[in-house]
């Protein structure tokens, strides 16, 4: 049975228990029972860095009723002893904007973190407005859209524009907030950091016990929880995942892309044909606005 070392962070479903000292991102599946969540919280204790769940696990949007929210939140709060707003990430799905906004407001997530996936730009803008209205922090997922057909390719740009220009913005929209910080203050941060996919530092354990770099790379697992750590870590350098050197060496357009430092090959490491133009447009906007702001400051405007 694998024992992850303390310097890595492992995303693991609540019905799998792992020994060791690693940090844990605890994923609560859609139909998790309060008992299993309680057991996981008890087992991992202070190792838990964050709890990830789906909005649908907390609320039956079709039935317009809560599934487990009150009990679950009580457990989380008691188990972690920390501010849930910093420890809980809720992955929004395809719920209606109105239901989502009502849920966020009703169940006291005024400062909770939400992950939004690519959709059409109008839906993205409305979700951001709704969640921003209850002061929720938001992360725009860099993974593929759950409903590619519904995406108009401008949703990410809309999110960046919202972050940069919405006059009532009070909470950050990642990854743009972090990138803006890099542009303004220096340092390094790329999508692998925002997506918890730092190679060699982040691992993903699936519901059936497979281990991979990330949720999106489960088709090429590094091993399973029955393997030893040495076997898993030894496979990391050979994984088809994050390998910026490969992208540079292939002389792909990534090598000369002004935004490579923000993605470091994130979009194409598992899918060479992935279209990242929507993200490039968003990064362009953030970089342009940052430079303009910097020049305005220099000029005393």
């Amino acid at each position: 049975m694998i024992v992850f070392p303390s310097f890595v962070t492992v995303s693991v479903p609540s019905d799998i228990t792992l020994d060791g000292d690693s940090s844990i991102i605890l994923r609560i599946p859609r139909k998790a029972s309060p008992e299993s969540v309680t057991a996981a919280l008890t087992h991992y204790g202070k190792r838990i860095r964050r709890i990830d769940t789906l909005a649908d696990a907390l609320f039956d949007f079709d039935a317009d009723r809560g599934v487990l929210p009150t009990e679950l939140l009580s457990i989380i709060e008691a188990g972690l002893g920390v501010d849930r707003s910093r420890a809980l990430l809720i992955r929004a799905g395809t719920q209606s904007i109105a239901a989502l906004a009502e849920f966020a407001a009703t169940y006291s997530f005024p400062t909770g973190s939400w992950e939004l996936r690519e959709s059409d730009s109008e839906r993205m803008r409305r979700m951001l407005t709704a969640l921003g209205g209850v002061r929720a922090k938001v992360r725009v997922a860099a993974g593929p859209s759950e409903d590619a057909a519904a995406s108009d390719g401008d949703a990410v740009l809309a999110a960046a524009d919202f972050y940069l220009h919405d006059p009532f913005l009070a909470t950050p929209v990642e990854p743009f907030h972090g990138i803006l910080g890099v542009l303004a203050r220096g340092g390094k941060a790329d999508l692998h950091v925002f997506q918890d996919e730092r190679r060699g530092m982040n691992y993903f354990v699936s519901g059936n016990g497979l281990i991979s770099d990330a949720a999106r790379s489960l088709q090429t697992p590094l091993g399973c929880i029955g393997d030893g750590w040495d076997a898993i870590s030894g496979h990391v350098s050979n994984s088809p995942g994050f390998d910026a050197v490969t992208f540079m060496a292939l002389r792909s357009e990534c090598a000369f892309c002004p935004h490579f430092r923000f993605c470091v090959g994130y979009f194409r490491e598992y899918d060479q044909d992935r279209d990242c133009s929507s993200w490039r447009r968003a990064f362009d906007l953030v970089a342009r606005e940052t430079n303009r702001g910097a020049k305005d400051l220099e000029d005393g405007n």
Binding site: V245, M248, A249, R251, F256, N291, A294, E298
Partner: protein, 667 residues
């Protein structure tokens, strides 16, 4: 290739042009063991001919016959001696023949009057003539060498007639090497232009076996020594490989010359010590106006305001090129023209470390930057660098800080570990484009392998730097260059700096007939685009030359106007030059001697570049608004382009229109 060994410590003559007199006076001679070892090693290395030359007259060496025996036993195809004929007789000639001596190069520097005056000993001509008679009579392969001087130049036709009376293989008429006694007796030496009428006169004689040596074909016609190959050579400074062009230079005007492969070039010491006003006609026009300008300028301003080489308090950066070998074949390499030289030994590096430490002490600075360059320095091997880095972290309290410039093609985890252990920053060159410029020795592209090695260096947590060289192939690609370098920094967890240079016409870049060079307009456009990309990215990325200008940090060596104060270049054989670029060009100030760097870097010649600042700032660059950030650019690069370091930089418009605005934009 033939091996040459300089034996003997004495000579009965004192030739006005003797190129090795200074070495003889310095008392630095190879030992008998060194000579015997060299004789044996050279034949094993595949050299089939051996010549005994001399720091004096070789036949006067008390071990001459021992050496002959050793050479014969070693199995050389031919064994020759360069001799003035002193003390020769039939018995000796026959004895030496039986010991394997098969060839003789006899010095005859004129008829009796001219010869004896040239060698400054009465009776020397008779010795030489006797040697000519004896060696030819005994069936040796005999050649005659005549060094051309003002003393003998009117006798040359008569001498040729005399020599033609003997069955000699060849008769070489040599333009003197400007070293040793030549520098002490310049009045006795001819100018290059004197070769022209001599060649015209001799053209009417039998020239089938006669040729000019060390003379450009543009002056003497096609009858020049075409043996441009290098020789393996042993003297008191040890073994080395010497190219006929080592002390010479090609003018930029020569780049298009169809004879350039046959040409030995122009003696740099001749230009340095005698001045350019008596240079060959084809470069005379270029230099004449500059010389006049310098004279006018000095009349007005005296000898210049610079402090001379190695002023007190000046920092010291030593560029060491331990080998000229390289595992790559980059089309724009500035080091590709010259024949390979011997690799540096750890012992020689030890001498260098002591010498540069002493020089640092003289300057009152507590540390020395040592930049390892090449060739490809990693070809020296890990053991060499381990001994260098572990052996001399400091000398006499002077800290030696090492850095290295490498193509990375041999880099691995062990190198990373070694350099990390000794905190050696690593810089490399890169070209990500499929332009065929950066290729391996076998012609395959470097980039894929380089990228893998770069990853090892980056993951090795080394301080890294990367240099991109812009060529004509990169026209319109400045923005891509910027983002490529910028993106490389993503892979480096520790410090990363970059620089973009433009190729200049030295080495391979010159030999490709300027095909890789950017025009002034192309250079301006390239750096303008590059600066725009850097500016648009917030100027946060360390990209030289922009970053230091924007922050008003110390300028790069080529722009700070005092490069000769702070830099020294030393090659694998201990030859000293102004910097790495000047090592490539082949301008040597001297060699590491018994007194270290001292006598070389304090000599008058080393202070000469300092006058360039005054000459330019009150002359060609007097009205230039970018002077303070340019100072005329790298003297070596300017000279490579125009043939004269006193010319304005050919890319000075880029200085004014791109770099100056960056410098002025700092709030």
């Amino acid at each position: 290739m033939n091996a040459h060994v300089l034996i003997s410590q004495s000579c009965v003559n004192d030739c006005v042009f003797c190129a090795v007199a200074d070495k003889r006076r310095s008392g630095l001679f190879p030992s008998k063991d060194d000579i015997v070892g060299f004789i044996r090693d050279s034949v094993r290395a595949g050299e089939d001919g051996l010549n005994f030359s001399g720091l004096g007259e070789p036949t006067l060496d008390p071990f001459f016959e021992d050496y002959l025996r050793t050479a014969k036993e070693a199995g050389y195809g031919s064994i020759g001696v360069f001799t003035n004929g002193h003390g020769i007789d039939t018995e000796k000639v026959r004895k030496w023949k039986s010991m394997g001596l098969s060839a003789a190069l006899i010095s005859l520097h004129g008829l009796e009057r001219g010869h004896d005056a040239s060698v400054r000993r009465d009776g020397s001509f008779k010795d030489g003539l006797k040697a000519l008679e004896l060696y030819t009579r005994e069936g040796f392969a005999v050649s005659v060498n005549t060094c051309l001087t003002r003393i003998n130049i009117e006798e040359i036709e008569s001498l040729c007639s005399l020599v033609d009376g003997y069955p000699v293989r060849s008769h070489s008429l040599s333009f003197p090497e400007w070293s040793g006694n030549a520098l002490l007796n310049p009045e006795a030496l001819i100018d290059y232009v004197d070769l022209i009428p001599l060649a015209e006169r001799l053209a009417k004689t039998d020239f089938s076996h006669r040729f000019f040596s060390n003379a450009p074909p543009c002056l003497v016609g096609s009858r020049v020594d075409v043996s441009r190959s290098s020789i393996s050579y042993l003297d008191g400074n040890g073994k080395r490989i010497v190219s006929p062009r080592d002390c010479n230079a090609m003018d930029s005007a020569c780049a298009m010359c169809s004879q350039k492969l046959r040409c030995p070039g122009i003696d740099r010491n001749y230009i340095q010590f005698r001045g350019r006003n008596r240079a060959p006609p084809f470069i005379l026009d270029t230099y004449k106006k500059k010389e006049l300008f310098m004279e006018e300028h000095q009349a007005v301003r005296g000898h210049g305001s610079v402090s001379g080489h190695g002023a007190s308090g000046a920092k010291l950066c030593v560029i060491i090129k331990p080998t000229s070998r390289c595992n790559a074949a980059c089309a724009y390499c500035s080091n590709a023209r010259h024949a390979p030289t011997l690799d540096m030994t750890v012992e020689l590096y030890g001498k260098i470390a002591r010498a540069v430490s002493a020089e640092a002490k003289r300057r009152g600075t507590g540390q020395v930057c040592i930049l390892w360059h090449g060739g490809e320095p990693l070809l020296m091997g890990k053991e060499f660098f381990r001994q260098v880095l572990e052996g001399t972290p400091s000398v006499d309290g002077i800290r030696l800080n090492h850095a290295i410039q490498t193509n990375l093609l041999l880099f691995d985890e062990d190198w990373a570990s070694l350099f990390r252990e000794h905190a050696v920053p690593v810089s490399t060159s890169v070209d990500p484009f499929d332009d065929g410029l950066r290729i391996m020795a076998d012609g395959t592209p470097q980039f894929g392998m380089w990228m893998e090695r770069f990853r090892i260096a980056a993951e090795g947590k080394l301080r890294l730097g990367a240099v991109f060289t812009a060529t004509k192939a990169h026209k319109g690609k400045a923005v891509e260059v910027y983002w490529f370098l910028r993106n490389l920094s993503v892979l480096v967890p520790t410090g990363f700096g970059t620089r973009v240079n433009a190729v200049y016409p030295e080495g391979a870049a010159a030999e490709s007939s300027y095909g890789n060079l950017l025009t002034a307009e192309e250079h301006l456009r390239f750096f303008s685009d590059l600066a725009a990309a850097w500016d648009g990215d917030g100027r946060s990325f360390p990209l030289s030359p922009f970053s230091e200008l924007a922050s008003h940090a110390p300028l790069a060596c080529e722009q700070d106007g005092q490069c000769w104060e702070n830099f020294i270049g030393i090659d694998g054989q201990g030859r000293i030059s102004a910097c790495g670029r000047m090592l490539d060009v082949g301008v040597f100030w001297g060699e590491l001697g018994e007194d270290g760097l001292g006598s070389v870097v304090t000599s008058e010649i080393c202070g000469r570049p300092g006058k360039r600042n005054d000459a330019l700032s009150s002359g060609a660059c007097a009205a230039c608004i970018a002077w303070d950030i340019c100072h005329g650019g790298c003297p070596g690069v300017v000279e490579a382009f125009s043939g004269d370091a006193l010319d304005p930089h050919m890319y000075c418009r880029t200085m004014r229109e791109v770099l100056l605005p960056i410098y002025r934009s700092r709030k």
